[in-house]
Symmetry: C2
DNA sequence: CAAACCTGAGTGACAAAGTCACTGAGCCGA
DNA sequence: TCGGCTCAGTGACTTTGTCACTCAGGTTTG
Protein backbone atom coordinates (compact mmCIF):
# COMPACT_ATOMS: atom_id res chain seq x y z
CA UNK A 1 0.00 0.00 0.00
CA UNK A 2 1.54 3.31 -1.10
CA UNK A 3 0.10 6.29 0.78
CA UNK A 4 2.77 9.00 0.56
CA UNK A 5 1.57 11.39 -2.20
CA UNK A 6 5.16 12.12 -3.27
CA UNK A 7 5.79 8.42 -3.82
CA UNK A 8 2.50 8.05 -5.67
CA UNK A 9 3.49 10.90 -7.96
CA UNK A 10 6.89 9.38 -8.57
CA UNK A 11 5.33 6.08 -9.53
CA UNK A 12 2.95 7.73 -11.96
CA UNK A 13 5.89 9.60 -13.52
CA UNK A 14 7.95 6.45 -13.88
CA UNK A 15 5.13 4.39 -15.38
CA UNK A 16 3.35 6.72 -17.81
CA UNK A 17 0.92 3.99 -18.86
CA UNK A 18 -0.76 4.48 -15.48
CA UNK A 19 -1.88 7.94 -16.59
CA UNK A 20 -3.79 6.30 -19.40
CA UNK A 21 -5.39 3.79 -17.04
CA UNK A 22 -8.56 4.43 -15.08
CA UNK A 23 -8.31 6.10 -11.67
CA UNK A 24 -9.74 2.88 -10.33
CA UNK A 25 -6.92 0.76 -11.68
CA UNK A 26 -4.29 3.25 -10.52
CA UNK A 27 -5.63 3.05 -7.01
CA UNK A 28 -5.83 -0.72 -7.09
CA UNK A 29 -2.22 -0.97 -8.19
CA UNK A 30 -0.95 1.53 -5.64
CA UNK A 31 -3.00 -0.06 -2.89
CA UNK A 32 -2.01 -3.64 -3.54
CA UNK A 33 1.66 -3.05 -4.42
CA UNK A 34 4.54 -2.91 -1.95
CA UNK A 35 7.51 -0.60 -2.29
CA UNK A 36 10.77 -2.50 -1.82
CA UNK A 37 14.41 -1.52 -1.76
CA UNK A 38 16.69 -4.33 -2.90
CA UNK A 39 20.48 -4.17 -2.44
CA UNK A 40 22.90 -4.53 -5.36
CA UNK A 41 23.60 -8.20 -5.97
CA UNK A 42 20.22 -9.34 -4.70
CA UNK A 43 18.86 -12.25 -6.74
CA UNK A 44 15.33 -11.56 -7.89
CA UNK A 45 14.87 -14.86 -9.68
CA UNK A 46 17.07 -17.92 -9.94
CA UNK A 47 17.36 -20.17 -12.96
CA UNK A 48 14.67 -22.81 -12.79
CA UNK A 49 12.80 -21.42 -9.83
CA UNK A 50 9.22 -20.19 -9.67
CA UNK A 51 8.59 -16.47 -9.72
CA UNK A 52 6.86 -15.26 -6.58
CA UNK A 53 6.26 -11.65 -7.56
CA UNK A 54 6.58 -9.10 -10.35
CA UNK A 55 8.80 -6.09 -9.56
CA UNK A 56 8.11 -2.85 -11.42
CA UNK A 57 11.41 -1.00 -11.31
CA UNK A 58 11.32 2.58 -10.00
CA UNK A 59 15.05 3.22 -9.78
CA UNK A 60 18.24 1.25 -10.28
CA UNK A 61 19.09 -1.42 -12.84
CA UNK A 62 18.31 -5.11 -12.96
CA UNK A 63 20.29 -7.51 -15.10
CA UNK A 64 19.03 -10.75 -16.59
CA UNK A 65 21.65 -13.28 -17.66
CA UNK A 66 22.33 -16.91 -18.43
CA UNK A 67 25.03 -18.84 -16.57
CA UNK A 68 26.78 -21.92 -17.97
CA UNK A 69 28.22 -24.79 -15.91
CA UNK A 70 31.76 -23.64 -16.67
CA UNK A 71 31.02 -20.27 -15.10
CA UNK A 72 30.76 -18.38 -18.38
CA UNK A 73 27.80 -16.01 -18.49
CA UNK A 74 26.00 -13.74 -20.93
CA UNK A 75 23.79 -10.73 -20.33
CA UNK A 76 20.41 -11.03 -22.05
CA UNK A 77 19.02 -7.62 -21.17
CA UNK A 78 18.72 -5.01 -18.47
CA UNK A 79 15.61 -3.82 -16.70
CA UNK A 80 15.52 -0.06 -16.28
CA UNK A 81 13.23 2.28 -14.36
CA UNK A 82 9.74 2.17 -15.84
CA UNK A 83 10.22 -1.41 -16.98
CA UNK A 84 9.78 -4.81 -15.49
CA UNK A 85 11.17 -8.25 -16.10
CA UNK A 86 8.41 -9.59 -18.24
CA UNK A 87 9.93 -13.00 -18.51
CA UNK A 88 9.02 -13.09 -14.87
CA UNK A 89 5.53 -11.97 -15.83
CA UNK A 90 5.12 -14.65 -18.46
CA UNK A 91 6.38 -17.24 -16.00
CA UNK A 92 3.88 -16.01 -13.46
CA UNK A 93 1.03 -16.13 -15.94
CA UNK A 94 1.86 -19.62 -17.15
CA UNK A 95 3.32 -21.15 -13.99
CA UNK A 96 6.63 -22.04 -15.61
CA UNK A 97 10.08 -21.86 -14.04
CA UNK A 98 12.24 -18.86 -14.92
CA UNK A 99 14.83 -19.81 -17.55
CA UNK A 100 17.62 -17.40 -16.51
CA UNK A 101 18.93 -15.38 -13.58
CA UNK A 102 17.65 -11.92 -12.66
CA UNK A 103 19.83 -9.88 -10.36
CA UNK A 104 20.01 -6.32 -9.05
CA UNK A 105 23.00 -4.70 -10.70
CA UNK A 106 22.66 -1.61 -8.54
CA UNK A 107 20.41 -0.94 -5.60
CA UNK A 108 16.86 -1.24 -6.93
CA UNK A 109 13.64 0.33 -5.75
CA UNK A 110 10.65 -1.54 -7.06
CA UNK A 111 6.91 -1.64 -6.74
CA UNK A 112 6.24 -5.31 -6.16
CA UNK A 113 2.89 -6.79 -7.13
CA UNK A 114 1.50 -10.27 -6.52
CA UNK A 115 1.02 -12.81 -9.32
CA UNK A 116 -2.70 -13.03 -8.69
CA UNK A 117 -3.01 -9.30 -9.34
CA UNK A 118 -0.81 -9.40 -12.43
CA UNK A 119 -3.09 -12.06 -13.84
CA UNK A 120 -6.31 -10.32 -12.89
CA UNK A 121 -5.33 -6.94 -14.32
CA UNK A 122 -4.59 -8.50 -17.70
CA UNK A 123 -8.35 -8.86 -18.04
CA UNK A 124 -9.48 -5.65 -16.45
CA UNK A 125 -7.04 -2.99 -17.67
CA UNK A 126 -6.21 -2.36 -21.29
CA UNK A 127 -3.28 0.01 -20.56
CA UNK A 128 -1.75 -2.59 -18.24
CA UNK A 129 -2.15 -5.25 -20.89
CA UNK A 130 -0.53 -3.12 -23.54
CA UNK A 131 2.26 -2.18 -21.19
CA UNK A 132 3.00 -5.84 -20.48
CA UNK A 133 2.82 -6.84 -24.12
CA UNK A 134 5.06 -3.99 -25.16
CA UNK A 135 7.66 -5.17 -22.66
CA UNK A 136 7.40 -8.80 -23.71
CA UNK A 137 7.80 -7.98 -27.37
CA UNK A 138 10.77 -5.74 -26.59
CA UNK A 139 12.49 -8.47 -24.59
CA UNK A 140 11.83 -11.08 -27.23
CA UNK A 141 13.52 -8.83 -29.72
CA UNK A 142 16.51 -8.26 -27.45
CA UNK A 143 16.96 -11.96 -26.78
CA UNK A 144 16.63 -12.79 -30.48
CA UNK A 145 19.24 -10.13 -31.12
CA UNK A 146 21.63 -11.68 -28.61
CA UNK A 147 21.18 -15.07 -30.25
CA UNK A 148 21.88 -13.55 -33.64
CA UNK A 149 25.02 -11.84 -32.35
CA UNK A 150 26.34 -14.96 -30.65
CA UNK A 151 25.80 -17.14 -33.70
CA UNK A 152 26.56 -14.90 -36.62
CA UNK A 153 28.78 -12.04 -35.52
CA UNK A 154 32.48 -11.98 -34.86
CA UNK A 155 33.56 -11.32 -31.33
CA UNK A 156 35.76 -8.33 -32.18
CA UNK A 157 32.80 -6.59 -33.84
CA UNK A 158 30.55 -7.34 -30.91
CA UNK A 159 33.14 -6.10 -28.45
CA UNK A 160 33.70 -2.85 -30.34
CA UNK A 161 29.94 -2.30 -30.56
CA UNK A 162 29.63 -2.88 -26.82
CA UNK A 163 32.42 -0.42 -26.02
CA UNK A 164 30.88 2.23 -28.25
CA UNK A 165 27.49 1.63 -26.66
CA UNK A 166 28.95 2.12 -23.22
CA UNK A 167 30.61 5.33 -24.26
CA UNK A 168 27.23 6.63 -25.37
CA UNK A 169 25.72 5.72 -22.00
CA UNK A 170 28.54 7.40 -20.05
CA UNK A 171 30.20 9.95 -22.33
CA UNK A 172 33.94 10.40 -22.34
CA UNK A 173 36.73 8.35 -23.87
CA UNK A 174 37.36 6.25 -20.78
CA UNK A 175 35.45 3.07 -20.03
CA UNK A 176 35.82 1.65 -16.55
CA UNK A 177 35.23 -2.06 -16.82
CA UNK A 178 37.24 -5.21 -16.31
CA UNK A 179 37.86 -7.71 -19.09
CA UNK A 180 35.93 -10.23 -17.01
CA UNK A 181 32.87 -7.96 -16.99
CA UNK A 182 33.09 -7.43 -20.76
CA UNK A 183 33.27 -11.20 -21.22
CA UNK A 184 30.15 -11.62 -19.06
CA UNK A 185 28.27 -9.17 -21.28
CA UNK A 186 29.15 -10.99 -24.46
CA UNK A 187 29.14 -14.59 -23.27
CA UNK A 188 32.86 -14.99 -23.89
CA UNK A 189 35.81 -15.57 -21.56
CA UNK A 190 38.27 -13.15 -20.03
CA UNK A 191 41.29 -14.48 -21.89
CA UNK A 192 39.61 -14.09 -25.25
CA UNK A 193 38.50 -10.54 -24.48
CA UNK A 194 42.04 -9.70 -23.39
CA UNK A 195 43.40 -11.05 -26.66
CA UNK A 196 40.91 -9.16 -28.80
CA UNK A 197 41.49 -5.92 -26.88
CA UNK A 198 45.22 -6.39 -27.25
CA UNK A 199 44.75 -6.76 -30.98
CA UNK A 200 42.79 -3.52 -31.13
CA UNK A 201 45.43 -1.79 -29.01
CA UNK A 202 48.09 -3.02 -31.42
CA UNK A 203 46.20 -1.28 -34.21
CA UNK A 204 46.21 1.95 -32.22
CA UNK A 205 42.42 2.04 -31.84
CA UNK A 206 42.40 2.09 -28.03
CA UNK A 207 44.60 1.97 -24.96
CA UNK A 208 44.31 -0.56 -22.15
CA UNK A 209 45.16 0.16 -18.53
CA UNK A 210 44.24 -1.77 -15.43
CA UNK A 211 40.49 -1.56 -14.96
CA UNK A 212 39.71 0.72 -17.87
CA UNK A 213 39.92 1.23 -21.58
CA UNK A 214 40.51 4.47 -23.44
CA UNK A 215 39.00 4.69 -26.90
CA UNK A 216 41.37 6.51 -29.27
CA UNK A 217 40.17 6.23 -32.87
CA UNK A 218 36.41 6.37 -32.47
CA UNK A 219 35.51 6.86 -36.16
CA UNK A 220 37.52 3.77 -37.10
CA UNK A 221 35.96 1.79 -34.25
CA UNK A 222 32.52 2.80 -35.48
CA UNK A 223 33.43 1.59 -38.95
CA UNK A 224 34.56 -1.76 -37.50
CA UNK A 225 31.32 -2.18 -35.58
CA UNK A 226 29.35 -1.63 -38.78
CA UNK A 227 31.34 -3.38 -41.46
CA UNK A 228 33.66 -5.81 -39.65
CA UNK B 1 -16.08 -17.46 -41.69
CA UNK B 2 -16.19 -21.19 -40.97
CA UNK B 3 -19.63 -22.71 -41.56
CA UNK B 4 -19.00 -26.41 -42.19
CA UNK B 5 -19.90 -28.18 -38.89
CA UNK B 6 -17.20 -30.81 -39.46
CA UNK B 7 -14.57 -28.09 -39.76
CA UNK B 8 -15.93 -26.31 -36.72
CA UNK B 9 -15.67 -29.54 -34.73
CA UNK B 10 -12.13 -30.11 -35.92
CA UNK B 11 -11.11 -26.64 -34.84
CA UNK B 12 -12.60 -27.12 -31.40
CA UNK B 13 -10.75 -30.43 -31.08
CA UNK B 14 -7.44 -28.89 -32.10
CA UNK B 15 -7.76 -25.89 -29.80
CA UNK B 16 -9.17 -27.25 -26.54
CA UNK B 17 -9.06 -23.81 -24.91
CA UNK B 18 -12.03 -22.91 -27.08
CA UNK B 19 -14.16 -25.39 -25.14
CA UNK B 20 -13.44 -23.37 -21.99
CA UNK B 21 -14.34 -20.13 -23.73
CA UNK B 22 -17.85 -18.73 -23.95
CA UNK B 23 -20.06 -19.82 -26.84
CA UNK B 24 -20.03 -16.17 -27.82
CA UNK B 25 -16.27 -16.04 -28.18
CA UNK B 26 -16.18 -19.36 -30.06
CA UNK B 27 -18.63 -18.03 -32.60
CA UNK B 28 -16.75 -14.75 -32.93
CA UNK B 29 -13.51 -16.58 -33.60
CA UNK B 30 -15.03 -19.01 -36.09
CA UNK B 31 -16.93 -16.21 -37.83
CA UNK B 32 -14.04 -13.82 -38.18
CA UNK B 33 -11.31 -16.34 -38.97
CA UNK B 34 -10.38 -17.64 -42.40
CA UNK B 35 -9.26 -21.19 -43.12
CA UNK B 36 -6.12 -21.23 -45.25
CA UNK B 37 -4.00 -23.95 -46.77
CA UNK B 38 -0.36 -22.93 -47.18
CA UNK B 39 2.10 -24.98 -49.24
CA UNK B 40 5.36 -26.33 -47.80
CA UNK B 41 8.06 -23.68 -48.08
CA UNK B 42 5.62 -20.78 -47.85
CA UNK B 43 7.06 -17.89 -45.83
CA UNK B 44 4.65 -16.79 -43.15
CA UNK B 45 6.83 -14.01 -41.81
CA UNK B 46 10.14 -12.61 -42.99
CA UNK B 47 12.86 -11.26 -40.75
CA UNK B 48 12.21 -7.61 -40.05
CA UNK B 49 8.80 -7.41 -41.66
CA UNK B 50 5.49 -6.55 -40.03
CA UNK B 51 3.11 -9.36 -39.21
CA UNK B 52 -0.18 -9.06 -41.06
CA UNK B 53 -2.07 -11.91 -39.41
CA UNK B 54 -1.91 -14.60 -36.75
CA UNK B 55 -2.21 -18.19 -38.02
CA UNK B 56 -3.56 -20.83 -35.62
CA UNK B 57 -2.17 -24.10 -36.94
CA UNK B 58 -4.69 -26.89 -37.56
CA UNK B 59 -2.42 -29.34 -39.34
CA UNK B 60 1.15 -29.42 -40.59
CA UNK B 61 4.31 -27.97 -39.06
CA UNK B 62 5.72 -24.47 -39.13
CA UNK B 63 9.37 -23.76 -38.42
CA UNK B 64 10.81 -20.56 -36.99
CA UNK B 65 14.51 -19.94 -37.55
CA UNK B 66 17.25 -17.34 -37.67
CA UNK B 67 19.37 -16.87 -40.78
CA UNK B 68 22.87 -15.35 -40.73
CA UNK B 69 24.48 -13.39 -43.57
CA UNK B 70 26.80 -16.28 -44.38
CA UNK B 71 23.81 -18.57 -44.95
CA UNK B 72 24.09 -20.46 -41.68
CA UNK B 73 20.78 -20.95 -39.94
CA UNK B 74 19.38 -22.25 -36.66
CA UNK B 75 15.94 -23.57 -35.79
CA UNK B 76 14.40 -21.78 -32.80
CA UNK B 77 11.22 -23.81 -32.48
CA UNK B 78 8.44 -25.50 -34.41
CA UNK B 79 4.76 -24.63 -34.43
CA UNK B 80 2.55 -27.70 -34.24
CA UNK B 81 -1.20 -28.22 -34.60
CA UNK B 82 -3.02 -26.50 -31.76
CA UNK B 83 -0.29 -23.88 -31.45
CA UNK B 84 0.48 -20.58 -33.05
CA UNK B 85 3.56 -18.49 -33.59
CA UNK B 86 3.20 -16.21 -30.63
CA UNK B 87 6.20 -14.17 -31.53
CA UNK B 88 3.96 -13.13 -34.37
CA UNK B 89 1.28 -12.37 -31.81
CA UNK B 90 3.55 -10.27 -29.68
CA UNK B 91 4.72 -8.41 -32.77
CA UNK B 92 1.13 -7.78 -33.72
CA UNK B 93 0.23 -6.53 -30.28
CA UNK B 94 3.18 -4.20 -30.06
CA UNK B 95 3.64 -3.24 -33.71
CA UNK B 96 7.23 -4.44 -33.87
CA UNK B 97 8.95 -6.18 -36.76
CA UNK B 98 9.34 -9.96 -36.57
CA UNK B 99 12.89 -10.88 -35.49
CA UNK B 100 13.21 -14.21 -37.33
CA UNK B 101 11.79 -16.21 -40.24
CA UNK B 102 8.65 -18.32 -40.00
CA UNK B 103 8.15 -20.89 -42.76
CA UNK B 104 5.84 -23.80 -43.49
CA UNK B 105 7.91 -26.95 -43.13
CA UNK B 106 5.08 -29.10 -44.50
CA UNK B 107 1.79 -28.08 -45.98
CA UNK B 108 -0.04 -26.16 -43.27
CA UNK B 109 -3.74 -25.65 -42.67
CA UNK B 110 -4.35 -22.67 -40.43
CA UNK B 111 -7.16 -20.60 -39.07
CA UNK B 112 -6.01 -17.07 -39.77
CA UNK B 113 -7.23 -14.20 -37.63
CA UNK B 114 -6.71 -10.47 -38.00
CA UNK B 115 -4.47 -8.43 -35.69
CA UNK B 116 -7.36 -6.23 -34.60
CA UNK B 117 -9.23 -9.29 -33.37
CA UNK B 118 -6.19 -10.76 -31.67
CA UNK B 119 -5.84 -7.52 -29.75
CA UNK B 120 -9.49 -7.18 -28.91
CA UNK B 121 -9.90 -10.74 -27.63
CA UNK B 122 -7.05 -10.26 -25.20
CA UNK B 123 -9.42 -8.05 -23.26
CA UNK B 124 -12.64 -9.95 -23.71
CA UNK B 125 -11.72 -13.62 -23.34
CA UNK B 126 -9.81 -15.07 -20.43
CA UNK B 127 -9.26 -18.50 -22.06
CA UNK B 128 -7.82 -16.79 -25.15
CA UNK B 129 -5.53 -14.69 -22.99
CA UNK B 130 -4.31 -17.70 -21.07
CA UNK B 131 -3.80 -19.62 -24.29
CA UNK B 132 -1.66 -16.84 -25.74
CA UNK B 133 0.36 -16.40 -22.55
CA UNK B 134 0.96 -20.11 -22.27
CA UNK B 135 2.34 -20.14 -25.79
CA UNK B 136 4.53 -17.09 -25.25
CA UNK B 137 6.02 -18.49 -22.07
CA UNK B 138 6.67 -21.81 -23.79
CA UNK B 139 8.45 -20.15 -26.70
CA UNK B 140 10.51 -17.98 -24.42
CA UNK B 141 11.66 -21.09 -22.67
CA UNK B 142 12.54 -22.80 -25.94
CA UNK B 143 14.50 -19.83 -27.23
CA UNK B 144 16.33 -19.46 -23.92
CA UNK B 145 17.16 -23.14 -24.16
CA UNK B 146 18.58 -22.73 -27.65
CA UNK B 147 20.74 -19.86 -26.46
CA UNK B 148 21.96 -21.96 -23.57
CA UNK B 149 22.81 -24.86 -25.87
CA UNK B 150 24.63 -22.67 -28.39
CA UNK B 151 26.73 -20.95 -25.75
CA UNK B 152 27.42 -23.62 -23.20
CA UNK B 153 27.10 -27.06 -24.78
CA UNK B 154 29.47 -28.94 -27.01
CA UNK B 155 28.34 -29.61 -30.51
CA UNK B 156 28.75 -33.38 -30.32
CA UNK B 157 26.44 -33.52 -27.30
CA UNK B 158 23.88 -31.32 -29.00
CA UNK B 159 24.01 -33.41 -32.15
CA UNK B 160 23.58 -36.68 -30.28
CA UNK B 161 20.67 -35.22 -28.32
CA UNK B 162 19.07 -34.08 -31.58
CA UNK B 163 19.44 -37.50 -33.19
CA UNK B 164 17.96 -39.24 -30.17
CA UNK B 165 15.09 -36.75 -30.12
CA UNK B 166 14.36 -37.47 -33.76
CA UNK B 167 14.36 -41.18 -33.13
CA UNK B 168 11.73 -40.66 -30.46
CA UNK B 169 9.60 -38.65 -32.90
CA UNK B 170 9.88 -41.29 -35.65
CA UNK B 171 10.78 -44.61 -34.02
CA UNK B 172 13.28 -46.94 -35.62
CA UNK B 173 17.06 -46.85 -35.80
CA UNK B 174 17.23 -45.01 -39.10
CA UNK B 175 17.16 -41.25 -39.37
CA UNK B 176 16.60 -39.79 -42.79
CA UNK B 177 18.23 -36.39 -42.81
CA UNK B 178 21.13 -34.71 -44.59
CA UNK B 179 24.09 -33.26 -42.75
CA UNK B 180 23.04 -29.87 -44.08
CA UNK B 181 19.63 -30.21 -42.43
CA UNK B 182 21.20 -31.26 -39.13
CA UNK B 183 23.49 -28.23 -39.33
CA UNK B 184 20.47 -25.97 -39.88
CA UNK B 185 18.83 -27.34 -36.76
CA UNK B 186 21.84 -26.68 -34.57
CA UNK B 187 23.16 -23.49 -36.13
CA UNK B 188 26.35 -25.16 -37.30
CA UNK B 189 27.76 -25.91 -40.75
CA UNK B 190 27.61 -29.03 -42.87
CA UNK B 191 31.35 -29.72 -42.76
CA UNK B 192 31.43 -29.62 -38.99
CA UNK B 193 28.43 -31.93 -38.67
CA UNK B 194 30.09 -34.34 -41.11
CA UNK B 195 33.25 -34.34 -39.00
CA UNK B 196 31.41 -34.93 -35.73
CA UNK B 197 29.30 -37.72 -37.25
CA UNK B 198 32.42 -39.30 -38.66
CA UNK B 199 33.94 -39.24 -35.19
CA UNK B 200 30.89 -40.98 -33.74
CA UNK B 201 30.96 -43.53 -36.56
CA UNK B 202 34.64 -44.20 -35.79
CA UNK B 203 33.60 -45.03 -32.23
CA UNK B 204 31.03 -47.51 -33.53
CA UNK B 205 28.06 -45.55 -32.17
CA UNK B 206 26.30 -45.09 -35.54
CA UNK B 207 26.59 -45.73 -39.24
CA UNK B 208 26.45 -43.06 -41.95
CA UNK B 209 25.08 -43.62 -45.45
CA UNK B 210 24.06 -41.10 -48.04
CA UNK B 211 20.98 -39.29 -46.76
CA UNK B 212 20.54 -41.19 -43.53
CA UNK B 213 22.08 -42.22 -40.24
CA UNK B 214 21.65 -45.50 -38.42
CA UNK B 215 21.98 -45.37 -34.65
CA UNK B 216 23.82 -48.44 -33.36
CA UNK B 217 24.70 -48.07 -29.68
CA UNK B 218 21.73 -46.16 -28.33
CA UNK B 219 22.48 -46.58 -24.59
CA UNK B 220 25.96 -45.15 -25.09
CA UNK B 221 24.58 -42.29 -27.19
CA UNK B 222 22.13 -41.49 -24.42
CA UNK B 223 24.96 -41.43 -21.93
CA UNK B 224 26.85 -39.00 -24.19
CA UNK B 225 23.87 -36.70 -24.50
CA UNK B 226 23.58 -36.56 -20.70
CA UNK B 227 27.14 -36.44 -19.49
CA UNK B 228 29.28 -35.38 -22.44
C1' DC C 1 23.21 -46.50 -72.68
C1' DA C 2 26.41 -43.05 -71.46
C1' DA C 3 27.45 -38.28 -70.72
C1' DA C 4 25.93 -34.39 -68.15
C1' DC C 5 24.19 -32.79 -63.96
C1' DC C 6 22.72 -32.37 -59.24
C1' DT C 7 22.84 -33.16 -54.50
C1' DG C 8 25.13 -34.95 -50.54
C1' DA C 9 29.34 -35.82 -48.37
C1' DG C 10 34.63 -35.87 -47.36
C1' DT C 11 39.10 -33.36 -46.97
C1' DG C 12 42.94 -30.33 -45.78
C1' DA C 13 44.48 -25.95 -44.54
C1' DC C 14 43.52 -22.29 -42.04
C1' DA C 15 41.17 -18.82 -38.76
C1' DA C 16 38.42 -17.74 -34.76
C1' DA C 17 37.16 -18.75 -30.21
C1' DG C 18 37.25 -21.32 -25.76
C1' DT C 19 40.07 -23.80 -22.08
C1' DC C 20 43.73 -24.66 -18.92
C1' DA C 21 47.49 -23.72 -16.24
C1' DC C 22 50.31 -20.66 -15.41
C1' DT C 23 52.88 -15.94 -14.60
C1' DG C 24 53.08 -11.30 -13.58
C1' DA C 25 51.43 -6.52 -12.34
C1' DG C 26 49.18 -3.13 -9.67
C1' DC C 27 47.01 -2.10 -5.38
C1' DC C 28 45.60 -2.08 -0.56
C1' DG C 29 45.59 -3.13 4.23
C1' DA C 30 48.02 -5.13 8.21
C1' DT D 1 57.11 -3.86 3.37
C1' DC D 2 55.06 -8.05 3.34
C1' DG D 3 51.24 -10.75 2.04
C1' DG D 4 47.14 -11.16 -0.24
C1' DC D 5 43.83 -9.68 -3.61
C1' DT D 6 42.09 -8.58 -8.10
C1' DC D 7 43.12 -7.88 -12.81
C1' DA D 8 45.54 -8.96 -16.89
C1' DG D 9 48.87 -11.53 -20.19
C1' DT D 10 50.73 -15.86 -22.22
C1' DG D 11 51.41 -20.28 -24.55
C1' DA D 12 49.80 -24.70 -25.68
C1' DC D 13 46.01 -27.02 -27.00
C1' DT D 14 40.99 -28.14 -28.40
C1' DT D 15 36.77 -27.13 -30.63
C1' DT D 16 34.30 -24.98 -34.10
C1' DG D 17 33.69 -22.36 -38.43
C1' DT D 18 35.29 -21.26 -43.26
C1' DC D 19 36.99 -21.94 -47.82
C1' DA D 20 38.09 -24.26 -51.80
C1' DC D 21 38.15 -28.14 -53.38
C1' DT D 22 37.22 -33.29 -54.76
C1' DC D 23 34.48 -37.28 -54.86
C1' DA D 24 30.30 -40.40 -54.87
C1' DG D 25 25.79 -41.80 -55.90
C1' DG D 26 21.63 -40.87 -58.32
C1' DT D 27 18.65 -38.75 -62.17
C1' DT D 28 17.92 -36.77 -66.39
C1' DT D 29 18.47 -36.56 -71.02
C1' DG D 30 20.62 -36.67 -75.64
Amino acid sequence: MITDPTQRGRILDTFPFLRAASADFRDTLLDSGTLMRLPAGHLICQDGSECAALPLVLSGIGRVYKLGENGREITLYRVEPGQSCVVTASCILSGRPFPAIAECETQVEALVVRPSEVRQWMGTSTPWREYVFGLIAGRLQEVFGVLDAVLFQRLDQRLVALLLGMRKAAPGRDIRMTHQALAAELGSSREVISRVLKGLEGQGLLRITRGHIELLDIPELERRAREG
